[in-house]
């Protein structure tokens, strides 16, 4: 059996991890740590967590509504038992060392007791001036929470504006106002720190050429998001600020403040602006009107992420977004109309053109604030030349100070998926410094044993929360309660003041015990936020948690109908009747839990796979590392140097050595996976291994797929036909191994995007621009007189790699852009190579005699491997043959099947450093499952009545997740471990043989009975 | 000679045969069909009489065939297997033959879906190949389908249709071979506009020596207008009208289009004459019978041989 160190050690006291910054990265890192049973303190200087993402409208590339995407994560962070959330809190100083930091933090006064505040909004209603508003444009939204799903779900007061605290206190029925709140300082003992403070967006009002902030209809990308957002100032109606009219022509200007050399500019690329501009343009046409003209002015279109090139193609081909390769110098406003004219030049036109737009969006990029630099100083970590936290080429989340890790934009500009990956990697690293809090009791143990109520007739208790005036101020709770007593099965009905307060809950618990109640209806606010609280209450009462029904009297009755109190009263009664009838048909449900197997299967022994294996093995998990080839290393073994000049060979040697010699890692080379069975937490995978293809089986709880991609070698431009035509990978080796052969070269031509961004391999290979510039600079080092031409479509040196691009240009490397309808030609003249290319700047064809032609061929998906494995493991793939993650935005490392994680170039093209990051991230995500002894699969699963089943296959075909199957007995079976609980099968079943637990037909029909009952 | 058929005799003489067709009326007046046929007298060797063409009810083809026979024009009695079972078909063959109708064409017929009786049962007791077999069996063995002997069997010259342009193309020669194997004597093809494709088909036919076993009459239909060309191209199943034909029709003024259509038909005949295995022409001038003599004349197919 498995032998490894027991991962559960005794609680050793102050072993928490401090996460600084509650944006998406910080939340992800904190959640990962908490799920891995580490204690976490998450601090944020703002009054609600969520960061930048909560202000966005929709996110690329799925164009989903962000609020929908983010809300499960936010409420999750509110719930985590091991997570302590400290909003409005900043770091004062850090002492000590890794494993034992003493961090002094300061909490700013909120003037509101978060525990008492019910987020009723009464304060905001009466004194809108005294609360903090949504940032951005003129805010007319009647809320002072930053967004409706705010965490914590509480308000905050801007004390500087408050003139009368007494008045404020009188408004607050919950008594949550704390006028004498003040700054509080405390010292936290933590083992490690994750820094995730993000960045801020460049303020373009310093740019006089773009109006200096004076033009009403010139907005930043973020402001434009707010205008489009359903929760934004215009409530989701796209209008321009000057006259509230729908714009007909909108322009985006890229790289505002980025990639520049001017006074206000930063030299690096912000990495996200091309995509967000495309997204905003698409959403503009998709959601508002497809006749709104959208134009984007850009220098290079940098859509280098997973599937982003397809997104670009869609923007142009399907949505008709107009791309103009030009960097306009200025915007001129017509002061009468507010219209804006832009004068610009393009390569292929002789004269400047002027166009008039209704709105101009400035795509501004990321900056590091002075505040953040000060924080870095307090933390004692080094920053790079641009003010971002400095990390190592092969240690992407480690700062210069041991024990302090970093993720997100404060490390380098990046988008949300990359932030999520880096956050999981940082959590993996930070969690490795602190043991699992073994003393923490299993959740189950704190609750009383469950009473079997199946034989009892319903004895229902109805408890109606007054929620201050929020419910009680609109309807008569007394009257409602009196009516409720008459409902059949109702034993007790009473008003309970603030239902969610500790007092009320213990009162309900007493009533349940005293009256022997077996079902409870709570009339209060939304079950979305409060169901769990009352479910826990039920469990403390010894009742099944599914025997409570939360009737949404506040959010769906007294709030929207506050001006029709009579109608609200009537509706409240009907809702309570529906609740009581429904709950009387509620069934006690068991949640499905399975013991976790704590072994790990890592498929693929390249950079990503080895990094995953090492993180987990270091923490005592048994890891099986399966590699198809005879040796570990993968594609990275062929690379000698990174763009930054680091020695890849030395890193790989060390990585392979550590992996091969690790006690907890069993390396299985020359091995292929042949079969697979099981369910989340308990999988069995069969493989054939070694030169004799010996068959063996591995039992494991999680699987990490790091099968890599292929180095592409398309037979183009005489590759494989002429010895002087080679790939960047070939050249990289030759520069390192045989510099003499490079020295004598006089003219070298590089061609970019060979076999990438083409039908068949539609996406960008991401690494080729960097490889080309790396090799070009290295050749220049060897022979400064060499003429190097780089023929490109867009140069995509995102982030700080822009520095090298600039250097390459400075050192005389010539960059010539080509279009796909006029590609370069490589000809064999008999005594050498000749490259023909059209130069759009010179406006004529060039013939370049080349000693070498170097093709940037990038990656191709390992289609065969991903196809085989996706069939075996029931995983999904993208159109171009990479594995497809569960959620491209928020879960880039998780796969759709629970317990499967994804790392490295099997996910999408990546640099070595990015593969390391995702390798560690996958380990971190895997650890969050591995550290629980059991895996909870919930109760809302579909169940089949085999007697009724006609084995018609309709459920098998209808299930969006392919869960049902016809079993050996000949009827449909749904594995509760795999069921997502959507209920589609139940609604489709022609034999009514399937019920979705928690939403059974009789339960739903009982609610209808409740609504129409009293008239029967 | 297997039969008394004038068409058989013309073909046997080695001359290029010419047939045309006329549709029987949708009523009882016999003169209509006679008038139409009269236009063709002396210009063609036989006239096909269609059988509930496009699945619309018309005077029965055997009755109309007899009307032609009465005025001395040789009919090709068409029979589809859609409307009758084998009892009725054999009865009609005997009946027609007893009135001197000695040439027939075996078809499966258009599906009722296309006509004005889509609600009718479609019988298809036999298909066209099986009908050829049945007629040949009546003639050569003197037996009914049920196996009993016929008292004085009918001696029909048996034809069938072939469409070289339908899909799958590779099957089209084999399909002809099958009809040949069933015993068919002559073939009238679907109207030909794509001569290259037809030539490819004929190559296949000759390669297998089928042209020596069956007489192939190439189908010709002059187009009245560019609209008709487009309609045939896009709407008529199994019809292959190349773009350049449509363009050519569109390229002339509307009033000149009929003339151009006839020109194309004549040019086609000229080219088809040169093809090995083409033993004649079946000129179907739909509702435009009066133009058949002009085509026959311009194509140099006159005079018709005296038999």
């Amino acid at each position: 059996m498995q032998e490894y160190n027991d991962i559960y050690t005794e609680d050793q006291g102050n072993q928490a991890v401090l996460v600084i910054g509650g944006g998406m990265g910080g939340i992800r890192a904190a959640l990962d740590l908490a799920e891995s049973r580490r204690d976490v303190v998450l601090i944020d200087k703002s009054y609600a967590i969520g960061g930048l993402m909560t202000q966005l409208d929709r996110t690329f590339p799925t164009n989903n509504c962000d609020l929908c995407t983010i809300s499960p994560h936010l409420s999750e962070s509110g719930r985590q038992l091991r997570m302590e959330l400290k909003p409005m809190t900043v770091v004062e100083k850090v002492e000590g060392e890794a494993g034992n930091f003493q961090v002094t933090v300061k909490r700013m006064p909120r003037y509101i007791d978060v525990d008492k505040c019910t987020a009723c909004g009464e304060c905001a209603e009466k004194f809108p001036e005294w609360v903090r508003f949504t940032p951005g444009l003129d805010p007319r939204a009647p809320t002072c929470m930053r967004y409706p799903q705010a965490t914590p779900y509480a308000f905050s007061i801007d004390a500087e504006k408050v003139t009368d605290f007494d008045a404020l206190q009188q408004v607050c029925k919950a008594g949550a106002i704390v006028p004498d709140d003040c700054e509080k300082t405390e010292t936290l003992s933590v083992a490690s720190i994750v820094l995730s403070t993000g960045g801020e967006l460049f303020d373009p009002s310093v740019l006089d050429n773009f109006g200096g902030g004076e033009y009403a209809n010139v907005v930043t990308g973020l402001q434009y998001e707010r205008i489009m957002s359903a929760s934004g100032p215009t409530q989701g109606s796209l209008v321009r600020p000057s006259d509230n009219k729908r714009p007909r022509r909108v322009a985006w200007i890229q790289c505002v403040g980025s990639r520049g050399i001017n006074r206000a500019d930063v030299p690096y690329c912000s990495s996200v602006c091309c995509m967000y501009a495309l997204k905003e343009a698409i959403v503009t046409r998709e959601r508002f009107a497809d006749d709104i003209e959208t134009s984007i002015f850009y220098m290079d279109m940098r859509t280098f992420g997973k599937d982003y090139e397809s997104y670009l193609n869609r923007a142009v081909d399907e949505y008709g977004v107009n791309l103009i390769r030009s960097r306009p110098h200025s915007i001129i406003e017509n002061p009468e109309t507010g219209d804006l004219s832009i004068t610009y030049a393009t390569d292929d036109e002789l004269f400047h053109k002027t166009e008039v737009f209704d709105m101009v969006v400035l795509s501004t990029g990321f900056r590091i604030s002075a505040e953040n630099m000060e924080l870095a100083r307090r933390l004692g970590i080094d920053l790079n030349a641009h003010g971002f936290a400095k990390t190592g080429g092969f240690a992407p989340v480690a700062t210069s100070r041991p024990g302090i890790y970093v993720c997100g934009v404060c490390e380098s500009p990046k988008d949300i998926p990359e932030t999520m990956i880096q956050a999981s990697a940082a959590a993996a690293a930070a969690g490795s410094d602190t043991p699992v809090s073994g003393a923490a009791v299993e959740e189950e143990e704190i609750f009383a044993p469950e009473r079997d109520v199946s034989a009892e007739p319903p004895k229902i208790g109805v408890f109606v929360c007054e929620c201050g005036a929020e419910i009680g101020g609109v309807i008569s709770v007394e009257k409602l309660v009196a009516q409720a007593r008459a409902i059949p099965g109702v034993e007790v009905a009473e008003a309970v003041g603030y239902g969610c307060s500790g007092d009320s809950i213990s009162h309900i618990e007493q009533q349940v015990a005293g009256h022997g109640l077996n079902r409870v209806v709570v009339g209060g606010c939304s079950p979305r936020t409060h169901e769990i609280k009352f479910q826990d209450m039920m469990r403390r009462c010894g009742l099944n948690k599914y025997l409570v029904d939360i009737v949404n009297l506040r959010d769906q009755d007294t709030w929207p109908h506050m001006n029709q109190p009579e109608a609200a009263q009537d509706k409240a009664y009907k809702l309570v009747e529906m609740g009581a009838h429904g709950v009387s048909k509620a069934h006690p449900l068991a949640e499905h839990t399975l013991p976790m197997n704590q072994n790990v299967l890592v498929v693929g022994g390249g950079v990503a796979g080895m990094n995953s294996a090492l993180v987990l093995a270091d923490q005592g998990f048994r890891v099986y590392l399966v590699e198809r080839n005879a040796a570990l290393g993968g594609l990275a073994r062929n690379i000698r140097k990174t763009l930054q000049g680091e020695d890849v060979g030395a890193y790989m040697d060390e990585l392979i050595e550590r992996t091969g010699s690790h006690d907890n890692i069993q390396v299985l080379t020359r091995s292929i996976i042949v079969d697979h069975a099981g369910m989340p937490g308990r999988y069995t995978t069969g493989l054939q291994t070694g030169p004799r293809m010996h068959y063996m089986q591995i039992e494991h709880g999680v699987t990490i797929l790091a099968t890599g991609a292929l180095a592409h070698r398309p037979p183009q431009y005489l590759l494989g036909e002429h010895e002087s035509v080679m790939t960047q990978l070939d050249l990289d080796a030759q520069i390192a191994d045989n510099p003499e052969s490079i020295e004598k070269l006089e003219q070298v031509v590089m061609i970019q995007c060979v076999g990438s961004r083409e039908p068949g391999n539609p996406n960008c290979s991401r690494i080729c621009c960097q490889s080309a510039i790396k090799n070009a600079l290295r050749m220049k080092d060897i022979n400064p007189d060499m003429q190097i031409y780089v023929l490109y479509r867009d140069i995509r040196t995102y982030g700080f790699d822009e520095d090298y691009y600039r250097e390459a240009r400075k050192r005389g490397i010539k960059f010539i852009r080509y279009e796909t309808d006029n590609r370069p030609e490589v000809r064999d003249t008999g005594d050498g190579l000749e490259v023909g290319v059209y130069d759009p700047i010179l406006g004529r064809n060039l013939e370049i005699a080349a000693d070498r032609v170097i093709l940037s061929t990038g990656f191709a998906a390992d289609d065969e491997t991903t196809e085989d494995l996706s069939v075996l493991f029931h995983l999904t793939r993208s159109d171009d043959g990479y594995f497809l993650e569960d959620h491209v935005k928020l879960r880039p490392t998780d796969m759709s099947v629970r317990g499967f994680f994804l790392a490295g170039t099997a996910h999408s093209p990546k640099s070595i450093r990015e593969s390391i990051t995702q390798g560690q991230a996958a380990a971190g995500r895997a650890r969050s499952l591995l550290t629980s002894r059991f895996i909870n699969l919930g109760a809302a699963v579909a169940k089949v009545d085999g007697d009724k089943c006609a084995a018609c296959l309709i459920c098998v075909r209808a299930c969006p997740f392919h869960v049902p199957y016809i079993n050996a007995e000949g009827y449909s079976e749904i594995d509760p471990a795999l069921c997502h609980g959507c209920g589609t099968c139940a609604a489709e079943c022609p034999a009514r043989a399937i019920q979705l637990m928690q939403y059974e037909d009789d339960h739903i029909l009982a609610k209808l009975d409740g609504l129409f009952e009293r008239m029967n | 000679m297997k039969t008394e058929s004038r068409l058989e005799k013309v073909l046997a003489s080695g001359a290029l045969a010419v047939t045309s067709e006329c549709g029987p009326p949708r009523g009882v007046v016999p003169d209509k069909v006679k008038e139409k046929a009269e236009l063709l007298r002396g210009y063609v060797d036989a006239v096909n009489v269609t059988d509930n063409q496009t699945a619309m009810v018309r005077m029965s083809s055997w009755a109309a065939s007899i009307l032609l026979k009465q005025i001395g024009i040789d009919p090709v009695f068409q029979m589809v297997t859609r409307d009758r079972n084998r009892l009725a078909m054999q009865a009609d063959i005997i009946g027609a033959y007893s009135h001197g109708v000695n040439t027939m064409l075996c078809l499966s017929g258009d599906h009722p879906h296309f006509g004005d009786h889509p609600m009718a049962a479609n019988v298809y007791d036999l298909d066209s190949v099986q009908l050829i077999q049945a007629v040949v069996k009546m003639r050569d063995e003197g037996k009914f389908q049920g196996g009993k002997d016929i008292d004085h069997p009918p001696k029909m010259f048996v034809g069938a249709a072939a469409n070289p342009f339908a899909d799958p193309f590779e099957l089209r020669v084999m399909r002809l071979a099958k009809k040949v194997r069933a015993g068919v004597d002559f073939i009238q093809t679907q109207c030909i506009y794509n001569l290259d494709k037809f030539a490819r088909w004929m190559d296949g036919v000759c390669e297998r020596g089928l042209h020596e076993k069956v007489h192939i009459l190439a189908g010709i239909t002059p187009m009245k207008s560019a609209g008709m060309a487009r309609y045939m191209k896009n709407r008529v199943p199994g019809m292959d009208v190349p773009d350049d034909i449509v363009k050519r029709m569109e390229g002339v003024p509307k009033e000149k289009q009929p003339e151009e259509g006839i020109k194309i038909a004549v040019e086609s005949i000229e080219r088809l004459k040169e093809m090995e295995g083409v033993h004649g022409f079946h000129i179907m001038a739909i509702e435009w019978e009066e133009k058949v003599p002009e085509i026959v004349e311009k194509a140099g197919l006159l005079p018709r041989p005296e038999i």
Binding site: P142, P148, Q556, C982, L1011 | -
Partner: protein, 148 residues
């Protein structure tokens, strides 16, 4: 004494989008008619045609199913299936002589509190114009003659 007809309307709302949007409408104090009573389902893909028919049969004057925007369903295609089923129920209602406008499919995202309120208003107004359903409980309560 008879009182004015107030239609009884059942809205089957999916947890992730429409139900959340309803909460948001509430938190923004956006007014919509109290006639609308929500039944929460995990996904509109769970809404069975029988649930819709039974709601009408038991006395609802109108029923609508509110799910995520197309492409946003948390269970991939539940909202699309729900839309098909609503169309089927509409056809069945026509066949039995009921007004099919009593049933509708509506989509929205979680952030669209305004849309929730607006569609609730529009639907209620439409049902009010149609009058009590043939078996309307509310209609009977209002003591009026059933029409349509």
């Amino acid at each position: 004494m008879t009182k004015a007809f107030e239609p009884e309307i059942v809205a089957f709302c999916c947890h992730y989008c429409a139900y959340t949007a309803a909460d948001m409408a509430g938190s923004k104090r956006l007014s919509y008619p109290a006639n609308v009573k929500i039944i929460r389902v995990p996904c509109t893909g769970k809404v069975d045609p029988i649930h819709i028919m039974k709601a009408l049969h038991k006395g609802a004057d109108g029923v609508y199913v509110a799910g995520c925007l197309e492409g946003d369903c948390h269970f991939k295609t539940g909202n699309i299936r729900a839309a098909h089923r609503v169309r089927r129920v509409q056809a069945l209602l026509e066949e039995i002589g009921w007004d099919s406008r009593r049933v509708e499919m509506i989509t929205m995202s979680a952030g669209m509190g305004e849309r929730f309120a607006q569609t609730a208003r529009e639907f209620t107004e439409k049902i009010r114009e149609l009058g009590p359903s043939p078996v309307s409980r509310a209609g009977q309560e209002a003591g009026r003659q059933a029409v349509s």
